[in-house]
């Protein structure tokens, strides 16, 4: 890591902590965000000359507080009473570190503040799109242009979305609070869903300038790590981290030299990231230990990812176990995509006849290229080459992007050559 990277990393991780406490004390997330942004700019201006302070959090806290006081004063619409409610005075100079450390929140209350921030960003009164945008900005501390690029929208669109979300939080008074125990399971599920969505967005077809694209997968893992650290007793939190690590281990093998997708069956397994697989497996067993025998959806998905990641080859995969895990997953979430993946595993376990039968019971995937491609695979293995070509032709027309289209075109060509 070079000096700039270190600086940016410190600003991101400490910035989040400073923001979490500032948002509670200021009582306004937007003001806290703006104050921290200004403090960050000051740090970027100062630190390269002075070096990163010994206690960067204290430094940022002091500067951000002072900025927040300025911002609150400038807001003429704000009543004097509200400004007075802000707990700190004008704040110290950034070099008065001792005072800042004294004023800094103890570790436990910081943890609560971070949880408050997370649950606010993923409050169910905010739409999923809003939750994702806010989480990337506020929790992952990504800049607006980076988020805009990641979601292929213009900066203006993303900036407007964030303004709208923050003003809803302030106007509708979405509380800055940790949900009560009775609501926690549902609220935690929403938080995990946001992180999961960020990770799956990373797998979505890329567009635009690939080099400039933010690594959403890495951001999702970063957020999952944060959650696992804050809520180590929640098994699904640990399972999500395990799942993301195990899945990310295969990322580099998922495309070939030309950037075309490579299916799991054909991937070069020596290119899988063994360290990520090992770490994911460790988190998974931790999650299993804490789940008391009741596996949640992320845990099952992590087991599935682990079963693939630890198999020496596609042929030597434990298909019995994989079908069993999909059965379990299907019993929690009735989802045609789960049924499709299960059917693919059934083909490997019991042969194409059984796989085809399983695929034909699935409804709702008539427009999925994956379903048609799976049908084609079984038909081809059964010698119904012409029918297989027909299904592949449909799959090609339904493919969501050109890379997938090319992959299916190649398969179609291969099947057609068998026809001659």
């Amino acid at each position: 890591m070079n000096a700039t990277d270190t600086l940016v990393e410190v600003l991101r991780s400490e910035g989040l902590r400073v923001l979490a406490t500032l948002a509670r004390t200021v009582g306004d997330l937007a003001v806290a965000e703006d104050a921290l942004s200004e403090a960050t700019i000051t740090a970027l201006d100062t630190w390269p000359r002075t070096g990163i302070p010994d206690n960067p959090r204290a430094w940022l806290t002091v500067v951000a507080r002072r900025k927040a006081v300025d911002l609150l004063r400038r807001e003429s619409a704000r009543s004097a009473k509200e400004t007075a409610a802000f707990r700190w005075g004008t704040g110290a100079a950034p070099d008065q570190i001792e005072e800042a450390i004294e004023a800094m929140e103890p570790e436990t209350s910081l943890r609560d503040d971070m949880l408050r921030l997370i649950f606010t960003c993923c409050h169910p009164a905010l739409g999923r799109e809003a939750q994702v945008a806010l989480s990337l900005r506020t929790l992952a501390r990504l800049e607006v242009p980076a988020i805009a690029r990641a979601f292929l929208v213009t900066e203006t669109t993303m900036a407007k979305r964030l303004v709208r979300v923050r003003s809803k939080i302030a106007t509708a008074r979405i509380p800055y609070a940790i949900p009560p125990d009775t609501e926690l399971p549902g609220r935690l599920a929403a938080v995990l869903a946001v992180v999961y969505l960020i990770a799956t967005e990373a797998h979505a077809p890329t567009g635009g300038d690939a080099v400039a694209r933010v690594d959403l997968e890495a951001e999702a893992i970063r957020l999952a790590r944060l959650l696992a650290g804050l809520m180590p007793d929640e098994p699904e939190t640990l399972s999500l981290l395990a799942l993301l690590l195990l899945t990310s281990a295969r990322t580099s093998a998922r495309t070939d030299a030309d950037g075309d997708p490579v299916t799991l069956a054909d991937q070069d397994r020596t290119r899988w990231n063994r360290a990520a697989i090992a770490e994911g497996s460790t988190w998974l067993s931790e999650a299993v230990d804490r789940s008391g025998g009741v596996a949640g959806s992320y845990q099952i998905q992590a087991h599935l990812a682990a079963a693939h990641s630890t198999a020496p080859s596609w042929q030597e995969t434990d298909w019995e176990r994989i079908v069993g895990l999909y059965d379990l997953l299907g019993s929690i979430t009735a989802n045609p995509v789960v049924a499709l993946n299960r059917a693919v595993a059934v083909t490997e376990r019991d042969g194409p006849e059984a796989g085809l039968a399983a695929l034909r019971t699935i409804t709702g995937l008539e427009y999925s290229h994956l379903w048609h491609a799976a049908l084609a695979d079984n038909l081809r293995r059964l010698g119904h080459t012409s029918a297989a070509a027909g299904e592949l032709h449909t799959a090609v027309t339904l493919a969501p992007n050109q890379a997938e289209q090319r992959l299916l075109q190649d398969r179609l060509r291969a099947v057609r050559s068998e026809l001659r």
Binding site: H123, A125, T171, A172, R173, I174, A177, P179
Partner: protein, 119 residues
């Protein structure tokens, strides 16, 4: 404290005063009593059906002609059937109360923060 208006929407064909719905009237009264006692509910009423509605527009700006349309502003499957005002510490508290109003399961409730107009 923040004030919210809770707008109660019902299916047009299952309006609050239609016969099968009328028997639930006491549930609404019961809610109003509890929420008022708790100091959360600051008034509210049911609305007569949309066939009783008159929609008004003044054409050509202030002082222009008054245009009337017999019926609601928008023809929709779901119609506004009532409202109540809530005063709560935050959105979570307002949601918790609104979710106890029968309108939330007989129809839908839209919660909107009020922007006070100071005369």
């Amino acid at each position: 404290m923040t004030q919210y208006v809770a707008l109660l929407y019902y299916d047009r064909n299952q309006y609050w005063d239609s016969p099968p719905e009328a028997e639930f009237a006491s549930e609404y009264t019961e809610f109003a009593r509890r929420a008022t006692e708790a100091g959360v509910m600051r008034g509210g009423e049911a609305l007569h059906p949309v066939v009783m509605a008159t929609t008004i527009t003044v054409s050509g700006g202030k002082g222009g002609g008054i245009l009337l349309v017999d019926g609601p502003y928008a023809e929709a499957k779901e119609v506004l059937g009532g409202y109540f005002l809530l005063e709560a510490a935050d959105l979570d508290e307002a949601i918790a109360w609104a979710a106890q109003n029968p309108g939330a399961w007989r129809g839908k409730i839209e919660l909107r923060p009020i922007a006070p107009i100071h005369a």
